[in-house]
């Protein structure tokens, strides 16, 4: 009976899904912009970023280790990651300044945009999208925005619009690695062609309309105009890609993944992300595990994940919650191991890839946004430490994001509310 969904939305026609895939996901971004600061001669230490975000946090007492620096004593959750201890850093006592609001803070996970209600209603660009904007044009997909269940994402455009997430592992695999039939390629090409001429008309319409309306509307119509231009660019770039064969991988499309088994979906998605990085199909990825995620298939768990996150300190609930959270973490760990095993030039794929795990909630039971869980691996940093900041007066996490940008060779001075690069990260 758990499977009955009385959602108001009627099912999406499968035809619509297929077509949709063609235009919104399969569009690489050929931005004319080049990085403001060219990479140094030896090349930037990192090339890629993967951000895994959780809507429901991680139970802090089980996560935060004792002691700090390199000699920290692993917490229960970190026990299973000890073989890759030197490949990631755990950060405690940090969060995004001015970000409040419990679940509504999800939009700020990667943008770190302060969201005091009333003060600002518009989000700012998320870390992954900022990276993709400057560096995403070299791959078929400038970025991948993924979700294990729903369509929401913490990835936002410069205009502050949320990028709808791909939540179907099978379709994701097809988009990345399965060539469309010639007939479908023709149709895609036609859609792109007609789309471009439509954009021509709409662009001048938005301009004409700006002259007709009041000054208050002009700014919003600017966003229209920008969107038209950006879509034009993407359609143009896609014309080049549409007939180019997709990379072949030695893996089968995921089959029979139960959508209600979030851990299984997380595993399938991360496997595809690994393949996407390996084939250089994309370099910037976010994967979100939403708050209504179902965790069927986990031994010893018979309640909803969200319900468990509101454990109210009840021991039985905490026990079940730990099973879920450990499984989530272990999949993240496996992903790191896989990247570490993949050679890339003189080093490994992990050396070139920054992998983050975080959440908008430090304490899901009370919807507290302070003390966000943070695990950060790879990317050529020196790891193996516990960076312990003040749990009462949090350290700004956007500093880590700024360091991540610098590691890609993007020498921004600030990101969101950052105050400088991350202390203790080198």
């Amino acid at each position: 009976m758990k499977n009955v969904h009385f959602n108001l939305n009627r099912p999406l026609s499968r035809r619509a899904v297929l077509r949709n895939a063609g235009i919104s996901m399969g569009l690489p971004f050929l931005d004319a912009m080049t990085p403001a600061f060219a990479a140094s001669a030896s090349g930037p230490p990192a090339k890629r970023f993967v951000g895994v975000s959780l809507a429901l946090g991680l139970h802090n007492p089980h996560l935060i280790p004792e002691g700090e620096g390199a000699n920290y004593k692993p917490s229960p959750y970190l026990e299973s990651l000890q073989d890759i201890r030197e490949d990631f850093t755990i950060v405690s006592g940090s969060s995004h300044p001015g970000v409040v609001g419990g679940h509504t803070a999800e939009g700020s996970i990667f943008s770190a945009c302060p969201n005091q209600r009333g003060a600002t209603s518009r989000n700012t660009i998320s870390l992954d999208q900022l990276m993709a904007k400057h560096l995403g044009h070299e791959t078929r997909f400038p970025s991948l925005v993924l979700n294990t269940g729903s369509e929401t994402s913490p990835s936002y455009t410069e205009n502050g619009a949320m990028i709808p997430a791909q939540n179907d592992a099978v379709k994701l695999f097809a988009q990345l690695f399965v060539d469309d039939a010639p007939k479908e390629q023709d149709r895609q090409a036609e859609l792109i062609r007609s789309g471009r001429s439509v954009m021509d008309v709409i662009g001048s319409e938005a301009k004409a309309l700006q002259r007709e309306v009041g000054k208050g509307d002009k700014e919003k119509l600017d966003a229209w105009f920008t969107s038209v231009r950006e879509l034009e660019q993407r359609l143009q770039a896609n014309e080049a890609w549409v007939r180019r064969p997709k990379p072949k991988v030695d893996a089968e499309a995921p089959r029979g993944v139960d959508r209600n088994d979030t851990i299984g979906v997380e595993r399938a998605m991360l496997e595809i992300v690994y393949l996407a990085l390996q084939t250089d199909s994309t370099r910037f990825v976010t994967l979100h595990l939403p708050g209504n995620a179902k965790v069927n298939g986990l031994e010893g768990v018979d309640e909803s994940y969200h319900g468990l996150s509101h454990h109210g300190r009840d021991e039985e609930k905490l026990e079940q919650l730990s099973i879920v959270e450990q499984a989530v973490l272990d999949e993240w760990g496996d992903f790191l191991r896989k990247l570490k095993a993949a050679p890339a030039g003189d080093h490994t794929l992990l050396d070139e890839t920054m992998v983050l795990l975080t959440s908008n909630l430090g304490n899901a039971s009370s919807h507290d946004t302070k003390n966000m869980p943070v695990l950060f691996g790879g990317g050529g940093f020196k790891h193996g430490r516990h960076l312990a900041f003040d749990r009462k007066n949090n350290y700004p996490l956007p500093n880590l994001y700024l360091s991540a940008l610098h590691q890609l060779g993007l020498q921004m001075e600030t990101f969101a509310t950052s105050e400088g690069g991350m202390d203790g990260l080198a």
Partner: protein, 801 residues
Amino acid sequence: MNCFRSTYPVSKAARVLALAAPLVLSAAEEPDVRGQLEPLLSESCYDCHDDIESKSDLNLLDLEFEPGNPANFKIWERVFKRVESGEMPPEKKPRPDPDLKSAFLEHLESPLLAEDRAKKAAEGRVKVRRLTRREYEHTLHDLLGIDIPLQTVLPVEQETHGFETVASGQQFSHFNLARYLEAADLALDEAFQRATGEEETFSRTYPAFKLGKGGGGRGNYRGPQTKDKLSIAWPIRLPFYGRMPATSVPESGRYRITLKGVHSINAAAGAAWGTLSSGACVSNDPLLHGIGLVEATPEKRDLTYEAWIEKGDMLEMKPADATRKSAPTGAKGGNVGYEGRDLVEDDFEGIALKEIRIERIYPNGTVQEVRRNLFGDLSPEKVTKLSNPKADSEELLRKTIRQFADRAFRRPATDKQIAPYLDLALAETKGKRKPPMTGLRAAYQAILCSPRFLTFIEKPGRLDDHALASRLSYMIWNSMPDRELRHLADQGKLSERKVSRTQLDRLLDDPKAERFIASFTDQWLNLAEINFTVPDRRLYKSFDPTVQESMLMETRAFVGHLVASDGDIRHFVKSDFGMLNERLARFYGLDNVALKPGSGLQKVSLEEGRRSGLITQGSVLKVTADGTTTSPIVRGVWVGERILGLEIPPPPPGVPAVEPDIRGAVSIRDQIEKHRNSENCAACHAKIDPPGFALETFDPVGLPRAKYGSSKQAAAVDPSGVTPEGETFANIDEWKNIYLQKPDQLAEGFAKQLLTYATGATPTFSDRPALANIVEQAREKGYGTKSMIHLAVASEIFRTK
């Protein structure tokens, strides 16, 4: 707040003196507002809000008065409201002198009003609102006469101030635009196909023997039992139990489904409840789409449903009542078998039916209508000409595109406006040996991606007739104006009071007004969140999907009834009736209400009971809880913002959230009480907590409780409290009685919700007089819900951009 006057520390007294002196001199010319505000500020505010204390990050001592700066305006607006309502200075501080206070408010109000009015006159309150995806789908269905789902092609909407219609929070990016391109392509494919091709028809009846088996037990069998020419579904809890592969539909489409001769078997009391869904019903495509509830009584009845079903999907019908004992599967593995047992004899509650009929339907338009929508009044010969690549078609295209743009843009399209679309159509066909139809389709696709279609074009000041027609039509129908509204707008008559009154009544009387009830109610009360958490099955054994769906239906029907009957809005708080079905009445434990099983939702009288009113309905209690625990704060904020019209600011940064502890005797109330003792928190929590405390009487699924949990040590619920105005109440009933006496407050709150939803922006500071006017007239009309909709629509707020 960043406008410090001096970087040197100055004593408070010196600052006050320095300000007071020039005030006297210049008062005759340009009023020095900042100086006029000084007396009250220095008497009542600076103690906490100066450069040293800066409580809640507010330093009034150094705050300039610059209403032209939006951030500065916001702060002074908030100061005004909190002083006016008496929230500030807080209770524990001395009351300000009444004369000082009224002078302060007067001095502050007029410049704020002037500023806000000037801004509205220049820019309007609402900036480029676009169609929500719900509105988009209805609009394309009405514009083209098609039925295909389009909402799900578009990105999910985000809500702001509770509503997805609020323009300031609406997302727009190239991702949206790519989806619009796609959705338009899909919709036009469907429309052109229907207008020019063969209509797909389908109509079949499936007798019981085709729907299930008498025995089963192998081959992954999970269907119903066929017995005595009946198809019977039993309470077997296995995924996809009740699936009927024979019912798989040949094409995606909208279907009418009739379950014939439905009746209950062994129904303990009242009715047997089940769910009807569609889906692929296999484990690697497990999503089921709810079609409706099945209420079976001992008498045989035919039940009819309408739903969109995807190609290849089948129907699944099964009992769904968590309070009934479940039956064994009767076979090994994931199989169901009926051999060798008698489930009737074993007293399981089943749902039987005689046969199922499935027919393809096209509720939004016949082929003739689709043709007229695409080709206007072109004769069949001319439509044929559109398919001829050699035809000289410029005039034909111009005429057809104009007709279409005229409707899509919801106002007369000028030559200049249609020129780019005509050019596009010609470019698509000229010299390419393609028929004009191809060009027409390209032009339509562009029109459907135009900001003139996707957004509401409104100019600052009073809305013109066409903008008014759209506002009315989207408010009540979530779709474009129909012919009659459009005609009145073309004639310039719609803005006449009498005409718009009559039109509003007509819109509300139309079946399409259901859309208003559902979309407004769901957003206003946040009902979409009802799926967000799944209650703990160990603790809430009687809750199930049937109950949840019934709760949603109850609340929508309740609001719908109040609108239709012009019922008093005080019913939101307390009422003498409810809209229940048999399952919900049983869930609530209202065994003695007069209710006819088999009649679905029905109006029943609830004389004395905690169930009466909107705020104690299950849907509301469920969305304000998290599935496991309740939070008086979450519920208090919900009631405050959505029912009482309060503005509740978010907690200041750095305040630790209250973490629920369900282990022992420490109730969440105790924790909140501690929190409230902190002076920083007291002022807001005096507003938030009272209704939250009163509602603690209800658990996360909306059932009454006296204790937190069932253990002996469990803390008792204490639903008593004190309103911000100082009235005490012992429980939710008394709380309701207090607010029954405050209809003006309820009316203002409701008017704000209606206007935010309908216009796409919250009322601003200078809308206060118009709101007060609505409240005054509502009082004269007995606070009728429908009357209030009329008053909102007649107000300046509705009629200006």
